[in-house]
């Protein structure tokens, strides 16, 4: 009974916010957001798009114009993975013996599926600046392929040391590319490679390189988190 009452309170508060937004004429109606009086009108201008060279404008914004947000974003995931490892890990880790035993189909099927999922994730990362997708979903798909291996066989332990090093190297390479921008060109994270023409794989300067690094970093971090959740310290 109390929950229904709570639901009504939140609905009334939500309706109050909706009405407050509705009668502020500066706030556009749902669906009538024209980009002319917004900053994104400049993202869609002909010469800006050619100057960045990335087909997918959202990727151009995420890594090109607002690359500093993405650096902050990668740091958030880095510190979460660090926190999870800090709290859950201990020197001697061994797999959680869950009541779930992978049957034969799962064990064989996952070996095949693992390759396919990995290839799709590389496809999504590499074409981040041409088609939807990019570093974040690509990295998450790599992590889900590692997760599949964990589910397929309950003694599997991925090599955590190599994930840590991959994560550290990819992160510091990202910052080093930024610093290169500062040293070679005049600003941090500036695009010092030629932008090329839109639609080609080798276009948009440092954006694909950064997205590959982000994909590897996100993949290794979430795989590390998955490993921390599926193991516990030696119960001996």
């Amino acid at each position: 009974m109390k929950n229904i009452f709570g639901f009504l309170i939140s609905v009334t508060l939500g309706v109050f916010i909706i009405l407050a937004l509705a009668n502020t004429d500066a706030f556009p109606e749902f669906g009538s957001a024209n980009t002319d009086n917004r900053v994104s009108s400049q993202y869609l201008i002909e010469d800006n798009v050619n100057d960045i060279g990335s087909g997918n404008i959202v990727t151009a914004i995420v890594v090109g114009y607002r690359g500093f947000d993405t650096l902050g974003e990668v740091t958030v995931l880095f510190i979460s993975a660090l926190g999870v490892a800090f709290m859950l890990s201990s020197p001697k880790q061994e797999r959680l013996d869950l009541k779930f035993r992978p049957n034969f189909m799962l064990r064989v099927g996952s070996k095949i599926l693992f390759g396919i999922i990995l290839v799709t994730s590389f496809y999504i990362i590499l074409h981040g600046h041409l088609t939807p997708g990019g570093g974040f979903p690509g990295g998450a798909i790599i992590a889900s392929s590692v997760l599949l291996l964990y589910l397929a066989d309950d003694k599997f332990r991925s090599n955590i040391k190599s994930f840590k090093i991959l994560e550290g190297v990819a992160g510091s390479l990202f910052v080093i590319i930024g610093l290169l921008g500062l040293v070679l060109a005049t600003y941090f994270l500036q695009n010092f490679l030629p932008a090329g023409n839109i639609g080609e794989l080798l276009s948009a300067g440092i954006i694909p390189i950064i997205y590959i690094l982000i994909g590897l970093k996100v993949g290794s971090e979430i795989a590390g988190i998955v490993d921390n959740f599926l193991t516990e310290e030696e119960s001996a």
Binding site: K2, G14, R38, S40, I57, I61, E73, P132, F136
Partner: protein, 113 residues
């Protein structure tokens, strides 16, 4: 309609966070709130006239066509992964809480100083 649902989802997640006493339920309401917020961010960039398309330039759609606002999509990409970071941290702390207090209910945990 989706924008109104998103705002109510956000407020409902907020409400769920304050009334639930179970640690995992609180993390779930936090996620509900963040899903609502993400849908709201995308909804302010949406352009409902039929020939507006996703902001990707390829051989088919050139620059002349009407585009949906690309900036909120860039923001939501970041907000989703921040949500995952906070949830993973919350769950790790929940496992620690379970190890020390052996229960998920906040009021059942004896107030150990």
């Amino acid at each position: 309609m989706i924008q109104y649902a998103a705002i109510i989802l956000f407020v409902f997640g907020l409400y769920g966070l304050f009334t639930n006493k179970n640690v995992i339920k609180m993390i779930i309401s936090l996620n509900v709130m963040e899903v609502g917020l993400n849908i709201f961010i995308i909804s302010i960039g949406f352009n409902s006239d039929p020939n507006s398309i996703a902001p990707i330039i390829s051989s088919t759609n050139q620059l002349s066509s009407v585009f949906v606002d690309p900036l909120p999509q860039a923001l939501v990409l970041t907000a989703i992964v921040i949500g995952v970071g906070t949830t993973a941290l919350g769950l790790a702390i929940a496992k620690n809480i379970y190890k020390t207090y052996n229960t998920f209910e906040l009021d059942e945990m004896e107030e150990s100083a």
